[in-house]
Amino acid sequence: MKRGRIRENRIWAVLLLLVALTWSGCAKKEEPKAPYKIGGIFAITGRASFLGEPERNSMELLAEQINAAGGINGHPIELVIYDTEGDATKAVLNANKLIEKDNVLAIVGPSLSGTTLAVVPIAEKAQVPLISCAASVKITTPVKKWVFKTPQTDVMAVAKIYEYLKGQGVTEIAILTVGNAFGDSGREQLIQQAPDYGFEMVTAEKFGPKDTDMTPQLTKIRALKPEAIICWGTNPGPAVVAKNMRQLGIEIPLYQSHGVASKKFIELAAEAANGIILPTGKILVAGDLPDGDPQKTVLLKYIDDYEAKYKMAISGFGGYAWDGLQILAQALEKAGDDRAKIRDEIERISGYVGISGIFRFSPQEHNGLTKEEAFVMVKIVDGNWQVIQ
């Protein structure tokens, strides 16, 4: 009898335990699935922080939204983001760390063409999908198996400017480019494409990324009397060029690249920014787009969410990382946690409406954008962007 009671107690205890266990299980709803780890390497500090900071913010914003909506097939996204400070050595170290230590499924970034080109061999060797946020066309031409990019290429930007110039009846141009990967890649395209449009390039000048005075170059250009000056660089150099042109009293129209498409440029160049014409992604003029534009709603939502969360004005650059993570999320949904399958799925994405354009990837096309959709020409008028039709 006594023995029986003990057994009975044991049964009760076991039952209680079971109830407790299932109950606590219910409290957590369901077993969380293992997170998908995604790496990010951006120039968050340093001279290119105007790129890296919004990129990191956008990526964190999107990851938060995806996780709030239940993750990807139930898997939350876990971000591991490192700062390159715009330095190629640090970018390489960070990429290695992401791949070997953090074991990420894919990497978004780096922010700059130079740092990206330094990281490309690592991603290729380790067979990790890399979605770069940098402009240079060299990143995806020739196609590299594991490397994709979301920003518009400089090929498209140059073509867009040249088309516009041709429409204006311009034949003689001068270029002034910055001595870094962005400027050199743009320079190459500017020189290469000029004959296609029948332009004569009177001179091709350069300036250093940290130069604070471009009057010598501009003096030389002025003497050659081109009909348009195209400056290719990222802040703050192009702002100095704009200011110097005013200081020298040069009246030749100035064209800039999409590298300066941010409010910061207008702030820096102040008065001298007015009248400058440049190609930019649609984000800067989202409100002015026709309602039929498929990107309009996507852009407006992104801008609202971003400005609400970070309390700062949107720039054209954060969208590169946003698109990168969106593309990865779409690929992850189909592929799961397999790097090779993720890569294959990215190549199959076609028609994703993103911030920088509508992406149509293929095995031959790892950027997926066209110049018609990716760029609009804008003019700076009274410190604001105005779309040129």
Binding site: G179, G208, T212, P216, A223, Q247, L268, A270
Partner: protein
Amino acid sequence: MDLSNQILQYVISGITNGAIYAVIALGFTIIYNATEVINFAQGEFVMLGGMAVIALDSSGNLPLALSFILAVLAVTLVGAILERFTIRPVKSSDPVTLIIITVGASIFLRGVAMMIWGKDALGLRPFSGASPIHLGGATLVPQSLWVLGVTVVVMAGLQFFYKHTITGKAMRACAFNRRAASLVGISVNRMVLVSFALSAAIGAAAGIVIVPITLCGYDVGTMLGLKGFCAAVLGGLGSSPGSILGGFLLGVLEALGAGLISSGFKDAIAFFVLLLVLFLRPSGLLGPKEIKRF
């Protein structure tokens, strides 16, 4: 525009930049003479001057002149504090140790500036209008005249200070022979402090006048400091007239090189000339032969 007008424009640009290099070089010279230390935070004083004046100008409705003075005073204080708390406590007076300390101080100041003012470059309105002045076939911004004016004032002021004030004379005495100076009752420590404050002040003044032309960010000091250092070495380290000559020479050579040879080699040309001078005349153009320093 013909070649002579172009060259005139290059020279004007070069003189404006050269004036800044000259003032920075003077800052190096002042501290070098007092301590035999190359102060690698000199460029940071320039940056701090620029950033401080932008901050003061945008913060309230202070007149620009008052912002200018306050910014110079603030940076002077930074220079004095730097000397008092990083240079003086060090037991070893070995210049190499002290130079490394100034390198550390420059990184520290850069970091602090980044935390306070952020990572973007900032601009300031010109002191007196932006419409260019035409000079023959070349153009000149009014701000360039401010730069040259301030440079001249700084040079004249320094000259007066060294020749006609007790402190200035005491500093010259220290430069000739520290031991002898301290034996006749000059406080060497105080002179070193004054030299840091003084070079911070003129560095700040240089930083302030160029902001409207060049913009200013937390990291502009490094390159400006380096160019100023080159100018000082070019002219002869320790020589004030040499610093001034070196500064202008460097600025003009840079501009001519960028305009006439290739803008891709702008910095390379300046440094090539520097190397050439050092090979042919290691003490610099007006460098001290032995003891003459001022």
